[in-house]
Amino acid sequence: MKDPYEVLGVPHGTSEEEIKKAYRELARKYHPDNYANNPLADLAQEKMKEINEAYDMLTKGGTTDSGSSYSNSSGYSGSLGEVRRLIQLGNLDGAEAKLNAIANHNAEWYYLRGVIAQRRGWMDEAAQNFRIAANMEPTNFEYTRAAGTAGNGGYTYRQTQYDNSGTDDLCNCCSTLMCLNCLCNGCR
């Protein structure tokens, strides 16, 4: 069992308020929504579980859900349900073959095609298919959310200010290896 303070990244003896804050921060980072359709979803879920357990331990019996609300694969039936099941199992080629054999291309069909592409890391095709699905059924939350987050693969990394000043070469010395500039540059 790991040290719960270490899991939450706080020093021993931190106040409950601070623990709560650290927990919230981590829970937001590893939330299943951030890892939906991510091939590492299972590892994120494990991490989330570890964080929840650490938090429970430190707050003595505080109630947190351990990510069990995640997993929405059950309750689907028919051939598209089978496709969902194959995706869940990670059999993307099988899922794609099954999908291609279906003649009726409804919104869900495009959505699932998007999910397969996203799981492969093919973000452009994923976004295209999600957009079609969302256009066909604009009231479906699952599709519109996927279309909205397709641009970031579901995971939002903090946007930083873009400027180019910092991408200068740090130590572009070896490519100009024998240059005489060493004589004028000093040791940096």
């Binding site: 890391g121 452009d124 976004a127 397709a150 693969g153 200068d168 290896l177």
Partner: protein
């Protein structure tokens, strides 16, 4: 290699800057020790990133070492270890494959130069491919797949990028632990995808002139040889999605000594490079140095 995988130096602390430089110099020294002097010329930033990515456990302390570029003062170098050796081997393999590729592509003089350099690195390549046979097989396989996709004038940027991304992913083969490998595979896949697509964006004007294959020419409808505003936004979004996926994998990796540098490269460096390539200022940086 492309030289796109860079940190934002201004967002690194003094100590982190020193570590980054020491890793670069350490890789350069390791190349020399394993492959002889001329291999020093192959050192690059992309593989320095690979070194930081594959690193595990305790921080290594730098040593003072001789640098032929600055012969009058010693430099800090991170000492060679398993990861450094691996990064050096990958540097040789990937550089040689790039040279092999250049022998078919560019103009006459470039082809000749590439052929000449290949001969210089022939023995280094033999040694590296013998040591890392598994990775070398993947590189050969995926590059063959890439050139057949190029010949078919593949219209999907995802599929074209997939070959190169899969190639880079093979570098995670350093790890035996399955979970660790899976995380780094995903990270490298998306860094590879980022590299391929950013390169395609940068080469677009040149490829339009020469008529060479560029996936963007087939995926989007170009206007006057450039992407329309809407297409451009979509393209930036899809590359950004890869940076996000790389970040999602990074967040799951266990703590390592130089994590701040990796964090900086993915969260700050890659977006800055993408945007400077998009607005045309990337190659201009560093002029007047």
């Amino acid at each position: 290699m492309f030289g796109y995988v860079l940190p934002r130096r201004d967002k690194l602390s003094e100590a982190e800057n020193d570590r980054y430089r020491a890793a670069y110099c350490g890789l350069c020294r390791c190349l020399k020790e394993r492959y002889g002097f001329r291999a020093r010329f192959l050192v690059n930033y992309d593989m320095t990133f690979l070194y930081f990515l594959l690193q595990e456990g305790q921080a290594k302390q730098p040593e003072r070492c001789f640098c032929p570029a600055k012969p009058f003062c010693k430099k800090d170098c991170l000492p060679p270890d398993g990861v450094m050796d691996y990064a050096a081997d990958m540097t040789v393999l990937l550089s040689c494959w790039k040279l092999r590729d250049a022998r078919h592509d560019d103009g006459f003089f470039k082809r000749m130069a590439a052929g000449f350099c290949l001969r210089l690195y022939k023995r280094a390549f033999q040694k590296a491919s013998a040591a890392r046979g598994k990775e070398n097989c993947v590189f050969a396989e995926q590059l063959a797949r890439l050139s057949s996709l190029e010949e078919q004038r593949c219209e999907s940027i995802d599929r074209a990028a997939d070959a190169f991304a899969t190639l880079l992913k093979a570098c995670a083969g350093y790890h035996a632990d399955e979970n660790l490998r899976r995380m780094k595979e995903l990270l490298l896949y998306h860094v590879g995808r980022f590299l391929y697509l950013t390169d395609a964006l940068e080469d677009l004007p040149k490829d339009n002139r020469t008529g060479a294959y560029n996936p963007l020419r087939y995926r989007y409808r170009l206007q006057d040889g450039a992407l329309t505003q809407a297409d451009r936004e979509q393209f930036m979004e899809t590359v950004d999605a890869s940076i996000s996926m790389a970040a999602s994998a990074l967040e799951l990796l266990p703590e390592t000594a130089d994590r701040a540098i990796l964090h900086n490269i993915i969260y700050n460096g890659l977006p800055a490079v993408l945007h400077s390539v998009a607005d045309g200022s990337f190659r201009k940086r560093g002029t007047g140095k």
